[in-house]
């Protein structure tokens, strides 16, 4: 399990202006980081509005994203072995580098644009930092 030894609320500072503004609005209003991930990765398809664009039925990225995050944080799956070696702890000092490295890996793995995956990773790390990695891993165990 990756260690989070310094839970803090500064994660949004890693984001570009648009996601920072939108997600701050959601979180300040009381939306949980988990709900915000759902909205960020699937917000276009919610609120009883069917999109009139795209190539077919939109994909549901939030579930696969959370699975991927769990794979990295909670398991010793070889897929993220190098990342875990590089980031045994995620804290204020390593946060930016971890977000950058994970974004590249997740964007490639999920086929999602980096500018979309970065805010999801930040929200994911905020969720985990809030409860602690061990508790989060236990809670999300299948």
């Amino acid at each position: 399990v990756i260690e989070f030894d310094e839970p803090h609320e500064d994660w949004l500072g890693h984001l570009a202006p648009t996601p920072k503004r939108v997600l701050k609005g959601l979180l300040d209003g009381g939306t949980s980081p988990e709900e915000a991930i759902e909205l960020w990765l699937g917000g276009s398809h919610q609120a009883n509005i069917a999109g009139m664009g795209g190539e077919g039925v939109p994909k549901k990225y939030s579930a696969v994203f959370m699975n991927e995050l769990r794979l990295f944080i909670c398991t010793d799956d070889p897929k993220y072995k190098d990342f875990r070696a590089q980031f045994p702890k995620i804290n204020k000092g390593t946060g930016a580098a971890a977000i950058s490295a994970l974004s590249t890996a997740f964007a490639s793995s999920l086929g999602v644009a980096t500018v979309i995956i970065v805010p999801a990773i930040v929200l994911g790390l905020m969720t985990i930092a809030k409860v602690g990695a061990t508790a989060w891993c236990e809670r999300t165990k299948k």
Partner: protein, 217 residues
């Protein structure tokens, strides 16, 4: 004179799959609805109209050799369903006509509006079509704890029109961006000939252009 919009597509294996509509917001920048590219920004292109500055030119029903220009995702806000793409560094559109962005706040129920989009583009139709409509309601769409300003316009929308600007007839400003049509749970349950029957009505949603302005600051 109305301003031309563009078809947005994805180039795969030499074939362009049209995804929706986009429009110029700067000489090198296009806006669209975020869901059109389903979070995947690879090989996105804009289709340049045949007669960019002649609004009334006849458009070819069957176009051969589409003029495509690659785009790079610049910024995205999936919660408000908006995205911004840019041309390659240094490139700009020739003689761009760029609309003024306003807000759904400037509209009233009953106001005349029109959209300029690319209906049926999923089936390869790359023809810009103007549709007149009326603002049927101003609505707040809840996403999480956000209340997002939209208008419902009395227009039946089909796939390809998302991302189309909604112009106010009174001053030509863009009050909103078309993002879809009402469907319980966002639709996707049944498809008949590629059309979700739950969307066969005249309740189309446009998100306020003020959120797009916020992304361009």
């Amino acid at each position: 004179m109305p301003i031309k919009t563009f078809a947005l597509g994805r180039l795969e294996g030499g074939t362009v799959h049209l995804l929706g509509t986009c429009f110029l917001v700067k000489a090198n920048t296009f806006a669209t609805a975020a869901h059109t590219f389903d979070a995947n920004d690879t090989n996105i292109v804009v289709v340049i109209p045949e007669d960019l500055n002649d609004f009334n030119a006849y458009q070819q029903q069957t176009r051969v050799g589409l003029q495509l220009v690659p785009l790079k995702l610049k910024d995205v806000d999936p919660v408000h369903d908006l995205a911004i793409f840019e041309l390659a560094a240094g490139a700009t559109m020739n003689s761009p006509h760029i609309p003024k962005l306003s807000s759904t706040d400037t509209t009233a129920v009953g106001d005349k509006v029109y959209t300029l989009g690319y209906p049926h583009s999923r089936w390869g139709m790359a023809i810009m079509v103007l549709q007149e409509a009326t603002v049927g309601a101003r609505v707040l769409v809840t996403k999480g704890t956000l209340q997002i300003r939209h208008v419902i316009i009395n227009q039946q929308s089909v796939v390809g029109q998302s991302g189309a600007p909604v112009f106010a007839a009174k001053d030509g400003s863009v009050v909103g961006i078309l993002v879809g049509a009402f469907a319980p749970s966002g639709g996707g349950g049944i498809s008949m000939g590629g059309i979700d029957p739950q969307t066969l009505h005249q309740t189309s949603y446009a998100v306020s252009a003020e959120y797009l302005s916020g992304m361009l600051k």
